[in-house]
Amino acid sequence: MENLKNLHDVLIIGGGIIGTFVARELSKYDLEVGLIEAKNDVGDGCSGANSAIIHSGYDPLPGTLKAKFNVLGNLMWDEIAEELDVHFYRIGSLTIALEDNQLEVLNSLAHRAKENGVEVKLLNAKEVKELEPNINPNVKGALLAPTAGIVDPFLAVVKAMENAMDNGVKLYLNNRVEKITKEENIYIVKTNKGEYKSRVVINAAGVHSGEIANMIEPIDWKVIPRKGEYFLLDHFMYGFVNHTIFPLPSEKGKGVLFTLTTSGNLMFGPSSEEIEDLDDVSTDKLTLDSVKSQALNLIPNIPMHKVIRVFSGNRPTTTRHDFIIEPAKSDKNFINVAGIESPGFASAPAIAKYVVDELVNDVISLKEKNNYISHVRKHPNLYDMGLENRAKFVENNPEFGEVICNCEKISLGEIKDTLNRNCAPTSIKGIKKRCRAGFGSCQGGFCQSRIIEILAEHYNLSPLDVLYDKEGSNILIDTIKEGK
């Protein structure tokens, strides 16, 4: 019960994009802040399996929280990405009309964009084809939103947490919240590992936010997670797709879209299926087949042999169908930040700021730190430094010359750099998320054995104890007979 001694001012439940961004925002102030995460890394829920688009904000209905925070959040990403040393590119989005009668819908979307205060431009078929040569040739027109962007979703979460920890926030991994009680104005959050005390609790538990909110009081909303299945392709050529490409939005969401990752991989999806098991991230053939056929409708010549991965993530959709960012009815010291589905990534910086400046500020006085560190220590990214500088850098930092991941050309130095920071990875997946080792064509076939050795050495473990992902996900189960 060591933790009982530590009284927090604010305790955040959930280490996704919202939890970590709120943690970082809070770390600007003189506060004891902790973040509780059920898994062994941050960003492993919905935040690690989504489209990673920083939406422009033209789409949400005017007046909704989604519209408000999307538009505000989008504007904040340039600065945040720079501070967190995360790749972020405003590649723009195109919403495509494939039938003449859909042009009217584009017009109304353009009107909605104006209401939301988002810059858009209507394009005719010829203009669309010039921007996207591989688009369905039957395209009739498109709505271009130049401010839409893409971000590295793994690093956005990890780096926000790292920066928060650089500023004193504590991270409690592998803690699944079981019960929350309140004694003498102090919350006691009981997990499978211990008890944590705090004056204020922020519920940012994603698909589990309904369960957490219910621990305090009955709630009038419910999380109905919707699974989205995706295809990820190897990076194979520049210019095959240049923007995020949406079909016309429907009731179910933004539909099967095409986008690029910040490392140039092509991605398409998601499906939209209501599910019961909150942690079910399986894929199935029928759904993937349907995603594929919808995708082929936008881009008819997808090189399917370049697919390197299929995956799924669960959006924390709620019965309110808008973001829920408000204190519990019975207590202002318990703040729910729930239902953060698309456009969650775009909105996250603005949501974090609102939660801290308005909702937390309402219950505790905030005093700015004078030693706040706004930037993470820059990651030595060999790819970005160019080949000339790379030679000099490697001379002085020899481990950056030893390439471990052949496909993505990631060096030992880059891998070790992720291990020698706050919010360091503890698993093979953790390393993959942070520096892309194992992310390429062979999906770790060549480098996984080395990554296991690097993790084992760093944490002084037997390779048998190294995890791929969650607890129980060991790759190696025993030594061979000769090894005994």
Binding site: F231, L232, F236, M237, V281, S282, T283, D284, K285, L288, H305, V307, I308, R309, V310, F311, L387, R390, A391, V394, E395, P398, E399, G401, E402, V403, N406, C407, K409, S411, L412, G440, S441, C442, Q443, G444, G445, F446, Q448, S449, P463, L464, Y468, D469, K470, E471, G472, S473, N474, I475, L476, I477, D478, T479, I480, K481, E482, G483
Partner: protein, 414 residues
């Protein structure tokens, strides 16, 4: 900038053979760049026997086979650098490689690409179901067992009957695991007949054909897989599901030429997923040659060695300025042929050419016919043909010199 006549990227069977051949033909300024810590490539982990039947007329293990070449590399004093990863390549043959403490730039007169292949992953085949551990490619499992000394599972299902999958069925059994079955989506095996006998039948491991994994289930580690039969369009047939409890699914679902460096220089790629080449193994990029599994995936290493020699020979001719490039004859895969290597033949060649090809499906009583227009250049009878066994066809210079139009290679029933 350092200059080298011939740089060979990849020090496996293909790369070593290319280096030795070029040396034999008088090229002395050679450098082999190898990404791993020693020469030999994937053969280092192939501790089973069956290598060298053509090359040495004896049965060797992978390491025995490769060491015969490493010895020659040492005897010939051919320089090589291990742990060296090529990080950039340009069309004018400027190579940048990286190793511990060093990034170096070299200008080469000719390059032989011998970078091997990689395994298709669970993602590449869109394996349906949970994302749990215990799903592993056969080559990686082999590396863990044979190089690192670790077991990857106890109750194993193998998906895909490619040779590595078959070899691993036996290897895992010998190491104490229960290999429950091998499941193959096609109606025939993708492996060599001798491996089906020696690795499955000898150990009573069943091989299920036209059946694949329709679902993997496991919270953290694999708990079970569902196998389903598939129809001719590869769709699961409802009602044929078979649940098998297992902790490991080994994937042997295909190998793909490893050509990321060729993509850097915009090298045209053919139906093998490797470069398209002429009879000197020269790609469409001037002075860049390719051989071995990065060109097309071979079933027997002896043929990789032979192809490496062809590429080394081609590179030597190129460096000595003896390739004329006065036009070429296309070689087109026709009826029931999935690919032919090379895709082009130099019209002015004064050498015999070996065509290497694979058929699309198993067939009995077939003629392999090489045609130029309506004229039959050669017609070879085969009792049976299968996709897993590469067919070699020799074309003599006299025959090549008779050809004016493109060549087509096709099967013709008896």
């Amino acid at each position: 900038m350092k200059t080298v006549d011939l740089v060979i990227i990849g020090g496996g069977s293909a790369g070593m053979a290319a280096a030795l051949q070029a040396k034999k033909e008088g090229i002395s300024d050679i450098l082999i760049l190898e990404k791993d810590e020693c020469l030999g490539g994937i053969l280092n982990q192939c501790i089973h026997n069956g290598f060298g039947l053509t090359e040495f007329k004896e049965e060797l293990t992978g390491p025995e086979y490769l060491w015969r070449f490493v010895d020659q590399i040492h005897e010939e004093k051919i320089p090589y650098i291990c742990n060296a990863q090529v990080i950039d390549l340009s069309k004018d043959k400027i190579i940048k490689y990286s190793k511990y403490g060093l990034v170096e730039t070299i200008k080469a007169k000719a390059i032989v690409m011998a970078t091997g292949c990689y395994e298709r992953s669970a993602g590449a085949i869109q394996l349906p179901g949970d994302r749990c551990t215990g799903v592993i490619t056969a080559g990686l499992a082999q590396k863990y067992l044979n190089i690192k000394g670790y077991m990857v599972g106890k109750r194993v299902v193998i998906l895909g009957s490619g040779d590595i999958g078959l070899i691993m069925a036996r290897r895992l059994t010998l190491e104490g695991a229960k290999v429950i079955c091998v499941s193959e989506i096609m109606p025939y095996s993708a492996g060599l007949n001798r491996n089906i006998q020696q690795c499955l039948k000898d150990y009573d491991i069943p091989l299920y054909l036209s059946r694949t994994v329709s679902k993997v289930v496991g919270k953290n580690r694999l708990e079970k897989v569902t196998l389903s039969s598939v129809d001719e369009n590869m769709n699961f047939i409802p009602g044929t599901e078979m649940e098998i409890e297992c902790d490991t699914l080994v994937l042997s679902v295909g190998l793909v030429p490893y050509i990321s460096l060729l993509n850097y220089i915009g090298c045209p790629i053919g139906p093998t997923k490797g470069a398209i080449v002429n009879n000197y193994m020269e790609t469409k990029i001037d002075g860049v040659f390719a051989c071995g599994n990065c060109l097309h995936v071979h079933d027997v290493v002896d043929f990789v060695t032979e192809e490496g020699r062809n590429a080394g020979h081609g590179a030597a001719l190129y460096i000595k300025n003896l390739i004329k490039n006065d036009g070429e004859i296309s070689v087109i895969p026709g009826r029931e042929i999935s690919y032919v290597v090379p895709q082009f033949i130099d019209k002015k060649t004064n050498e015999n050419v070996t065509l290497k090809l694979r058929v699309r499906k198993p067939l009995k009583d077939q003629f392999v016919v090489v045609k130029s227009g309506d004229r039959i250049i050669s017609k070879t009878y085969k009792l049976g043909v299968v996709p897993s066994e590469m067919i070699l066809l020799n074309l003599s210079i006299d025959k090549i010199n008779e050809i004016n139009e493109e060549l087509t290679v096709e099967l013709e029933g008896k």
